[in-house]
């Protein structure tokens, strides 16, 4: 029994072994099936997904930023252009100890406190993997020093960047605006408008002015280089390339020389001026004094400078032509006169005997004329040339606020003009309905009286006054002011002009318009309120003076509260066009605290007309130019 057991066991063990071999084979088959099932899943079922992922591994898109379009004045002078410069940039995520790195960099190149402040501010607005400029426009020497020390400064890079240069100076800042670094708010907006992809290679975006309103045209289309890259991100070869499409160049109606003449004509005064071509709506000059240096903003402004600009009592960042709202004062009188004629409330020959004041029936209150004792017998033409208040007090009452509002509205008062710049104010053309809505109060007859001379609730921008004046000059066509006259594809080299736009045409009886125009010409003839400023001109012109009261007007007070205590003088206004017979230029001038329209505003218009119509510069400016040439 005991001897037999091993042998029997041997047979049993062998049989069992063969059974186990089969189990082993089955086990192996199972494992093989699992592997092939997995491979089937990856290679057959998910093939497309993985091919896509392999491709996105392999291919990286490197954005190529387009060149921004240039901005030229009407004569082709460059106002905004690009230049390439080296900048010193830091990437927070790679620098390690930031303060140590900054200290180290500071030993190599000079970093001003302003640059450091600006850097800190930009840093706080950026993600830590973004590169933030510390110093731009490096000299060749600085580039060489930094390149030599780069190996021990991780996260510090010298990059060639495109910048914008506004060589026309502060005077053009309110027209051109500026570009600045794309911030979170810009990015959000780009995302919402589906333009984010187009800005993948861009650092800057238009923030204000034309740079903002023509951003889409100026920016161009970002190109992409499709690169094959290895796992470490090194480009192996270029697969394909979609070249960037450069932005369009803009040509303005504006003449920088005229702009300079106008700015110079303001002298020490602040204020705003806009000159339009009454036929096309082209903006020939647009001055808002003071200006500022737009170049400060291109690569991020340092907080101190920004604070001083933003908090300056002179408000250099406010475009007075678009956003300054003032009572139109007497400049509204030609429009009132036309309204009286057109609505049949007055005939040109109707005269009043002006005692120097006006009273409403059943009222002892006297609305005074600016001239004590009055102007005597005044007809419509004289009411304009002498700026007779009494005439318009009475006219306004006879017309009534409702008809006044409806007629003046046709000149665009109280409405945005639609200029190709953003941030325009709409001003205010008062009406019964407006007062009820805004103040929950009825309209009082006394308010109609002062509305007749452009005071009270009236608020207009210089631009609105210019458009209304242009309608008088061109016979009722309500033109839309345009800065840009043509657009050029830099590759095609041909300018494509942008036609002027009209908001509508107001039918005006020619005889009525002629009388008003005559009145406005009288303003500049001997005996008129602004006769002095037209003396000796080789062309005829027509205009109207005005003053915007600074004291006692709520809306006006809010605009410039800080100056009120010092400066109580009124803002001087003047609207004009020339030549009177066939107008080619219209201006609206506002001189802050200039006192009277005839004294300070009209001479500015004269200087603009002189240069535009005859090429003559103001004597003092000519002298400066001669000195500079020597």
């Amino acid at each position: 029994m005991r001897l037999a057991t091993p042998l029997k066991n041997l047979d049993r063990e062998l049989a069992r072994f063969h059974g186990r071999l089969k189990v082993g084979a089955a086990f192996v088959a199972l494992l093989a099936a699992a592997l092939l099932a997995r491979a089937f899943y990856l290679q057959i079922m998910q093939q497309e997904h993985y091919i896509e992922r392999a491709e996105s591994n392999r291919i990286s898109l490197v954005p190529a930023a387009p060149h921004r379009g240039l901005i030229l004045d009407r004569n082709g002078r460059i106002l905004a252009e690009n230049y390439s410069a080296y900048t010193l940039e830091l990437t927070r995520a790679q620098t390690g100890n930031l303060d140590a790195t900054l200290a180290e960099v500071g030993k190599l190149v000079e970093i001003t406190p302003g640059q450091l402040r600006r850097f800190r501010r930009l840093l706080s607005e950026s993600h830590e993997f973004e590169t933030v400029p510390l110093k731009s426009k490096l000299t060749d020497e600085e580039v060489a020093i930094l390149a030599a020390h780069r190996y021990r400064l991780p996260g510090v890079e010298v990059k060639a960047r495109l910048f914008r240069n506004y060589q026309a100076g502060p005077g053009m800042a309110h027209v051109l605006g500026f570009i600045g670094r794309i911030n979170d708010r810009d990015l959000k907006q780009l995302r919402e408008t589906g333009r984010e992809q187009n800005y993948r290679g861009s650092v800057h975006i238009g923030k204000t002015g034309l740079e903002q309103s023509y951003e889409t045209l100026l920016h161009g289309r970002t190109g992409f280089d499709q690169m094959e890259t290895d796992a470490s991100g090194r480009a192996v070869r270029m697969l394909s390339r979609i070249p960037p499409v450069p932005g369009k160049d803009l040509r303005l109606h504006l003449d920088v020389e005229l702009q300079a003449v106008a700015e110079h004509a303001f002298g020490d005064y602040l204020g705003g001026l806009v000159a339009l071509d009454p036929n096309t709506g082209g903006v020939l000059a647009l001055v808002s004094k003071p200006g500022f240096d737009p170049n400060l903003f291109v690569d991020g402004i340092d907080p101190e400078t920004w604070k001083s600009l933003n908090e300056s009592p002179e408000r250099p960042m406010v475009n007075r032509v678009l956003r300054g709202i003032y009572p139109p004062g007497s400049t509204i009188k030609p429009l009132m006169a036309l309204a009286g004629l057109e609505l049949g409330v007055r005939k040109a020959s109707d005269s009043i005997d002006d005692p120097g004041y006006f009273s409403l029936p059943n009222s002892r209150h006297r609305f005074r004329d600016w001239k004590a004792g009055g102007h005597g017998m005044v007809d419509l033409r004289k009411s304009i040339s002498q700026s007779c208040d009494t005439y318009y007090y009475k006219l306004a009452v006879d017309m009534g606020i409702d008809r006044m509002h409806d007629y003046l509205a046709q000149f665009g008062l109280g409405e945005k003009t639609g200029i190709d710049l953003e941030g325009e104010s709409s001003g205010l053309l008062p009406s019964r309905e407006w007062k009820q809505r805004r103040w929950k109060q009825p309209w009082y007859p006394g308010e109609t009286v002062i509305a007749g001379i452009g005071q009270g609730y009236h608020l207009t921008t210089p631009l609105q006054l210019a458009v209304a004046t242009a309608m008088l000059a061109n016979g009722g066509r309500r033109i839309e002011p345009r800065l840009v006259q043509a657009v050029r594809d830099p590759l095609a080299h041909t300018w494509q002009s942008i036609p002027g736009r009209e908001r509508g045409r107001l039918a005006i009886t020619p005889e009525h318009l002629d009388v008003v125009r005559e009145g406005m010409m009288d303003v500049l003839r001997p005996g008129g309120t602004a006769a002095a400023s037209a003396a000796g001109a080789s062309y005829t012109s027509a205009g109207k003076t005005g003053t915007a009261q600074v004291v006692g007007i709520k809306q006006g007070a809010r605009y410039d509260a800080s100056r009120l205590a010092r400066q109580h003088r009124d803002h001087a206004l003047f609207i004009a066009y020339a030549p009177a017979e066939n107008p080619t230029i219209v201006v609206a001038v506002m001189v802050e605290n200039g006192g009277s329209g005839s004294g300070t505003a009209a001479p500015v218009a004269r200087a603009v007309f002189d240069y535009y119509l005859t090429g003559k510069r103001p004597g003092s400016m000519q002298l400066e130019a001669d000195l500079a040439a020597d």
């Binding site: 071999l21 699992a34 491979a39 290679q43 591994n57």
Partner: protein, 366 residues
């Protein structure tokens, strides 16, 4: 000269033709894939050829040694291996956080490599000695012989190698006739012990398991390998991108692509068709090994042939499973495919043993 060639022929007659053909096929594929993966680096290709030559030489030598002599190597090799493992635990060098290496002065050596063959040899020798008398106590003794090196390697810690060596020991016990109730009972116990095992695992081991379950949780760290290799395999599609055309391979996206991740290169360049062929080759080797085992005259031969065949396939399975993302990343090369001399020599040494079993038919009673 005729005598020399005669001698060579006799030596070669101890090779198993089918197994040799399969091995050479795999080595040929390996050469092509390593050439592509290394960017046709002459150094890599030459090194690979030298390794292959050495390993094939070792295989021929071993195939010529009769199994009964081979079995005698088992106990001393096993004892030496265990002693070295203890030595590692006491004096070993720490690399990458685990104590696996023994510095022999002229070279660093992993004793756990030795156990890959020493353990099956030892167990097969032991069961051969007790052939026909196998009882529970023999299996118990076998289990202890298995557990000693297993636990020592686990402590290093080297979970992957411990499991592979444990598997080879288990296969041998299984083929020796380990009762099913013990296997199933052990399986249940093992399942219950999993949570405990998890608790005992090192951080990096837990992380490897976790990234296996969700590679995207750590795309730049531990998950990167798996993500890139599955992308490579998946993008290969049915026929692959072609030899030396795999973008994942050629642009360096696959890490360790000549060694542990060589299957990703293969899958990308040769596709599903290639994968079927490769798995088929491994299956053929196993089937041939099992046939040899079935025909082997001694228990030692049967156990060794069956265990080594199954073991080779297990390595292949674990490697391909890890590269294609169904098993955790454990540092196991793909048998006969990955670049690397030690693994290749160990594997062909094993194949040499199988061939020796196949070609030494006569019973050499001891």
């Amino acid at each position: 000269m005729p005598r020399t060639s005669h001698w060579i022929l006799r030596r070669l007659s101890h090779l198993d033709g089918i197994l040799l053909l399969l091995v050479l096929l795999l080595l040929g594929i390996s050469l092509a894939v390593v050439a592509s993966a290394s960017g046709q680096s002459p150094a890599r290709i030459t090194g690979h050829l030298i390794n292959m030559g050495l390993a094939l030489g070792v295989m021929v030598v071993i195939a010529n040694i009769p199994p009964h002599l081979l079995s005698k190597v088992g106990p001393p090799l096993y004892v030496a291996g265990v002693v070295l493992l203890i030595g590692v635990a006491l004096f070993g060098e720490i690399r990458n956080g685990s104590r696996r290496w023994l510095n022999l002065g002229f070279m660093a050596f992993q004793p756990s490599e030795l156990l890959k063959l020493a353990l099956p040899l030892m167990l097969a020798w032991y069961f051969q000695r007790n052939e026909g008398l196998l009882r529970a106590k023999h299996f118990l003794a076998g289990a202890i012989l298995l557990l000693v090196p297993f636990l020592l390697i686990l402590r290093q810690p080297d979970l992957g190698t411990a499991l592979m060596i444990g598997a080879s020991g288990f296969y041998l016990l299984f083929f020796a006739g380990l009762p099913w109730k013990v296997i199933l009972g052990g399986g249940v116990l093992g399942g219950a012990a999993l949570p405990v095992m998890w608790g005992l695992m090192h951080d990096y081991q837990q992380r490897r398991v976790l990234t296996l379950l969700d590679p995207s949780s750590d795309p730049l760290g531990a998950g990167y390998h798996i993500i890139q290799s599955t992308i490579a395999i998946g993008s290969g599609g049915l026929f692959g991108k072609g030899w030396m055309q795999g973008t994942q391979t050629q642009l360096d996206f696959i890490p360790e692509r000549t060694t542990d991740f060589v299957f990703a290169v293969f899958g990308e360049e040769f596709g599903y068709v290639g994968a079927i062929f490769l798995v088929g080759l491994y299956l053929a080797i196993v089937v041939r090994g099992l046939v040899i085992a079935a025909r082997a005259p001694t228990l030692f031969g049967r156990l060794m042939a069956a265990t080594l065949s199954l073991n080779l396939f297990t390595y292949a399975f674990v490697n391909m499973g890890m590269v294609s993302g169904i098993l955790p990343v454990v540092g196991v090369p793909l048998p006969l495919m990955s670049y690397g001399g030690t693994a290749l020599i160990t594997l062909l040494l094993g194949m040499g043993i199988v061939m020796s079993v196949a070609t030494h038919r006569q019973l050499n009673k001891t």
